[in-house]
């Protein structure tokens, strides 16, 4: 796999919109061509090469291309947006929309990422060693199609509104999460290994949420069903199974009503 390295050379005055930092766009291009790709700074279009030193080479296809970003890109948005294959490694913190709408490939963020990362993603792996911001794996503003496939794994904490309108895939948070988890969820799995605050599974129709720690305030629309002994992401344990959100519509399968499932670890 060919490796191309981007090293930030200056901190942008406004945040960079760099949706061109993606294996799909880099593949088959020379360093010079990559340096000429545009980034938006406010309403102005500038060159990627104005902000990064570019070394190494790209593969002929996205799948053969690894992009390594060495340095702080906490003012650079849209890294790996819509990528279909290949790999992006971010050795530093990144701004919003990391891996948004990605359909395949891998992103390894070794720092933290800001809000809207993994937004509407349908496939691939997004791994975050630090913390994630709000709206992780959620739907774009107004849309009812959130994360639909793939895996997001965060070692640290995540913000609020994660997995809003989630329809598929898996989100695993090693630490704690803020309010609103899996709001309007219609499928997929969210695993919170730390604590959650409140409004977990509000207006949830379908899907699974696991919380290993405490939920500070439980939604009133969930009903306790039974205790189950299961293995979740390599952790065995006894969980209390709740179903909900009772205030929401629910479909039927083979005559049985399908609810969203909320598992709380004992």
């Amino acid at each position: 796999m060919a490796k191309i390295t981007l090293t930030p050379t200056k901190i942008p005055t406004l945040r960079l919109e760099a949706e061109n930092i993606s294996p799909d766009i880099f593949a088959g291009k020379s360093k010079e061509e990559i340096a000429q790709l545009h980034v938006f700074v406010g309403k102005e279009s500038q060159a990627l090469g104005d902000y990064f030193e570019i070394a190494g080479e790209t593969g002929s296809t996205a799948a053969d291309t690894t992009i390594v970003i060495n340095g702080d890109v906490s003012r650079v948005k849209y890294i790996g947006m819509k990528m279909t294959a290949g790999e992006v490694v971010i050795n530093g913190d990144a701004d919003m929309y990391v891996g948004a709408w990605m359909t395949g490939g891998k992103i390894n963020a070794n720092g933290s990422v800001d809000a809207f990362s993994g937004l509407g993603m349908t496939g691939g792996e997004l791994t975050i060693k630090g913390n994630a911001g709000n709206y992780l794996g959620a739907a774009y503003r107004g849309d009812w199609r959130g994360m639909q496939g793939g895996t997001i794994r965060v070692s640290g904490n995540a913000g609020s509104d994660i997995g809003t309108f989630m329809r598929g895939g898996t989100i695993i948070i090693g630490g704690n999460v803020d309010v609103h988890v899996g709001t309007h969820m219609e499928g997929g799995t969210i695993i919170v290994q730390g604590d959650a605050k409140s409004r977990v599974g509000g207006q949830m129709v379908k899907g699974d949420i696991y919380v290993f720690g405490d939920i500070e305030v439980m939604m009133p629309g969930f009903q306790y069903r039974k205790d189950v002994d299961i293995e979740v992401d390599g952790t065995e344990g006894s969980f209390a199974l709740y179903e909900g959100d009772m205030g929401e519509r629910h479909g039927k399968k083979k005559g049985e009503t399908i609810y969203g499932k909320l598992y709380m670890k004992y």
Binding site: Y140, R141, G142, R249
Partner: protein
């Protein structure tokens, strides 16, 4: 002003009976003139291309509070669909609920010169006008809604046609409206009581009046005033399986009414988006649902005072919006997507719901078929106008795709065989498979400009290339002799006109927008009536007792909201 002569195009003009003749078309001082009368003019070469008068859209939702709520609550409709401005072009964005700028450019690229906003809530007329003023290039007008208006319901209950007419004239002047629109007559008001009017004989609670009376009374009042456009109805039970009987009942109300106007209009009733009203069966399932387009068209073809537009479903993700509040409520419970709703005091209500017409479902394919069937079954294309009820059945930008389906049996077969999952059951439950008619360019010109212009009472300005008419001319990159091999060429050509002259001004040059138009006009109808103290008293009383605004804050002040009005004067004092 620059004069233009468009040379050697294949010209189609059903008003003049020109059917593809190669000839020149000329414009002087913004008006069409005989090509021989021009000596010095800028020449535009249209050889190998199709030339028609500018298009006229009789029904689209492109301005006003509903459209704007759609824009506000669907930011995802704009996602990745923006184009930055360049040259004279301003930024445009959106798909089913585009920005006003894109709306203007879309119409221009499709070769249109005039569009009628199909539903203006009178109380929010100011907003509608503000949006229309900001929509570049095209001339526009708007139809205020009357079918659930308390004044109208009360006058019609007492059979007071004269008072209804006086009120209509007053409201048109107050809102700078163009004609009489009637959406789900009585049903939207009933919904305020948790009910609906599902047939023409359901009684509206409290007002004690039926849709039949409302439609009949509004037609009578419309003809008493002699307005340029006829009564424009969206019937009861839109979208309900088995609704075709209600549609026939609605259409038959036109029997016994005669057109009375000085504009050459022959229709007394225009039924809009007829596709949504031609359903048989009891459910949306393929074993029950069926097309009743033939039954409805047999009737329409036997009359001479009814026109309609198609409302073809284009199988897209779109945004539905209508003053039929109860319908939108039901729709939101069918697809479980977001729903916005509004009640407009004494006048109307509205709902907005995103909707996906999924070609993988039977029902969306059947709806697609029914819309096309109506266009293919009409005997006189001057009665049938091509619309998508934009954006309800499909986005505005899909008009050229609808032309393709109407003009090419091959394109329809391809849809039934390859795109629609239930093509066979759609052939079975609808008439589409039996229809091999292909709409000609001559007929297309009837269905997109000559016909709608006539029914809007605007044939003295639009719809033809007759000398003296407005200099609205579209040149499409379509060669009727050599481009017949591939239906995709139809869709491309009619969405990307090569040249557009609007009022004699060059708007599109070689496919590029080169001007935002300097003379955009808003049309409204000023109907003079005799003094009517009863109606004046009622208006004053309703404003005092019910409206949340005063009459002074209701009036659309012309100088501010219509900087460039075009007033059609009607004298109804006789």
């Amino acid at each position: 002003m620059t004069d233009y002569i468009i040379r050697n195009g294949f010209v189609y003009d059903p008003v003049l009976g020109i059917n593809g003749d190669i000839m020149d078309v000329a414009v002087r001082d913004g008006k069409i003139v005989d090509a021989g009368d021009l000596t010095k003019a800028t020449e535009i070469d249209a050889s190998g291309m199709t030339v028609m008068a500018g298009g006229v859209d009789i029904h689209a939702h492109v301005a006003g509070p509903k459209v704007n709520v759609g824009r506000n609550f669907r930011p995802e409709d704009k996602l990745f669909r923006g184009v930055a401005g360049s040259g004279v072009k301003r930024m445009e964005a959106g798909f089913s609920v585009p920005t006003v700028i894109r709306t203007g450019y879309l119409y221009a690229r499709m070769g249109f010169g005039f569009a009628m906003e199909a539903a203006m809530p009178p109380l929010y007329a100011r907003h509608t006008h503000e949006e229309m003023v900001d929509t570049p290039i095209i001339d526009q007008g708007a139809l205020p809604v009357f079918g659930n208006n308390w004044f109208v319901l009360e006058y019609i209950k007492e059979n007071e046609v004269e008072n209804t007419a006086a009120y209509i004239a007053w409201l048109l002047a107050q809102t700078k409206g163009y004609g009489v629109k009637c959406v789900n007559p009585g049903g939207t008001e009933s919904w305020g009581w948790g009910m609906n009017c599902e047939t023409v004989d359901d009684v509206v609670p409290y007002f004690d009046v039926t849709p039949r009376q409302i439609v009949d009374g509004l037609i009578a009042a419309n003809e008493m005033l002699g307005l340029p456009h006829c009564m424009h109805v969206h019937g009861n039970s839109l979208g309900e399986p088995g609704n075709y009987g209600v549609t026939l009942d609605t259409l038959k109300i036109a029997e016994g009414h005669k057109p009375n106007n000085e504009f050459g209009r022959e229709s007394v009733l225009h039924h809009t988006h007829l596709q949504f009203h031609c359903y048989g069966g009891e459910s949306y399932a393929s074993k029950s649902f069926e097309s009743k387009s033939k039954e409805v068209m047999d009737y329409v073809n036997s009359t001479d005072n009814i026109t309609f537009d198609l409302g073809v479903v284009t199988l897209d993700e779109t945004t539905t919006m209508t003053a039929d509040g109860p319908f939108e409520f039901h729709l939101s419970h069918m697809n479980n997507l977001k729903w916005a709703n509004t009640d407009v005091e004494l006048e109307t209500a509205a709902g907005i719901v995103p909707f996906i017409y999924n070609p993988k479902t039977f029902i969306a394919g059947a709806q697609w078929a029914i819309g096309l069937e109506l266009g293919l079954m009409v005997k006189d294309p001057m009665k049938a106008y091509i619309t998508t009820d934009a954006p309800n059945a499909g986005p505005l930008m899909r008009y050229p795709r609808v032309y393709k389906w109407l003009m090419s049996a091959k394109a329809r077969e391809d849809m039934l065989d390859n795109t629609l999952k239930y093509g066979d059951s759609i052939r079975d439950r609808c008439y589409i498979g039996e229809l091999d008619r292909e709409i000609s360019l001559y007929e297309l010109a009837m269905m997109t400009r000559a016909g709608p212009a006539k029914t809007l009472g605007l044939s003295h300005m639009f719809g033809s290339l007759k000398a003296g008419l407005e200099g609205d001319i579209a040149v499409y990159p379509y060669n009727p002799e050599s481009d017949t091999d591939d239906p995709e060429k139809i869709e491309y050509a009619f969405g990307n006109c090569n040249t557009l002259l609007k009022g004699g001004e060059l708007i599109i040059k070689e496919g590029e927008v080169v001007s935002n138009g300097k003379q955009k006009r808003t049309f409204w109808v000023n109907a003079k009536t005799n003094e009517n103290p009863v109606v004046e008293r009622d208006i004053s009383e309703k404003f005092k007792r019910y409206y949340t605004v005063t009459q002074n804050n209701y009036t659309v002040e012309g100088h501010h909201y219509l900087p460039n009005p075009y007033v059609i004067e009607v004298d109804a004092t006789k």
